[in-house]
Symmetry: C2
Subunit: 171 residues, 2 copies
Amino acid sequence: MKTESIKTIFGITLALTTLLFVACIPSCNPKNQTKMETTEIFPKGQPLPKEWFSGSAFLTTLVAKDKNHEFSAGSVTFEPKARTNWHTHPKGQVLIVIEGEGFYQPKGQPAQPIKKGDVVNIPENTEHWHGASATSKMIHIAITNYVGEEQVTWLQPVTDEEYNSATGSSN
Amino acid sequence: MKTESIKTIFGITLALTTLLFVACIPSCNPKNQTKMETTEIFPKGQPLPKEWFSGSAFLTTLVAKDKNHEFSAGSVTFEPKARTNWHTHPKGQVLIVIEGEGFYQPKGQPAQPIKKGDVVNIPENTEHWHGASATSKMIHIAITNYVGEEQVTWLQPVTDEEYNSATGSSN
């Protein structure tokens, strides 16, 4: 093989390498992959009050109570380990999990693992909490019924001891 | 440059090209990308009746009317061009779009483009239709209020002419 031919083949190979590399950059980039996997449906929204939530939790309101709807609906994002206080609803609540993994625990019962795609129908006047798992965030839509102007009664925080014991987590 | 050196560089370049290609296969593969982008939250569910829907539409019920909920909620999947008939709700309906793109049109008004993340609050007794765009599927959660046992009155189909005219599509 002549040196000129080898140089030509070398040049072509180098050009192809560069082309392939450039073509693959968008899909090989881990940042882009993460973006695709975690594109969320709703904005994260406003931080929820520390008085009623432990850890980082956020709310985007989707539907307000009005003349037709005797409920409100919102997208709630819980970062890992974030959870509601213990609380009750006078006319129940529905949770529709749209992302991640977490728990729902009615008082005196084991915590139930819940994940993307699950629906929880919470009865009226049932003390409970819900939130993310220790290692995953959780996002759920919450549809919460009203009785008059009331839809929730907030109680004491879920302590770290209660959370770890119920979810099998350690600090 | 000696021929041997050129051969060595050529060999290394070829090896690097192969390595880069193999390393990029998983993320460059369009099948994998599609899978990541279209992981759906709920099962597609049961086909909706041709009597009330044009094209391919499916329902997974998430919440049934019960003693607490004066509504039902479900995940509705519309394949491209699929849509409801014209219809009304006696106490309104909320659509929460969780995937894709489509349209909502109240009778006598322009069709409104809707997409993932959008919420539509449909008034009571308002003739309308909703469905996918011509090129994208759409999935929405629908929360539909009841008056007694009634939540919808079905009317005539949205014809191809009406759909194409309202959405700017052609057959």
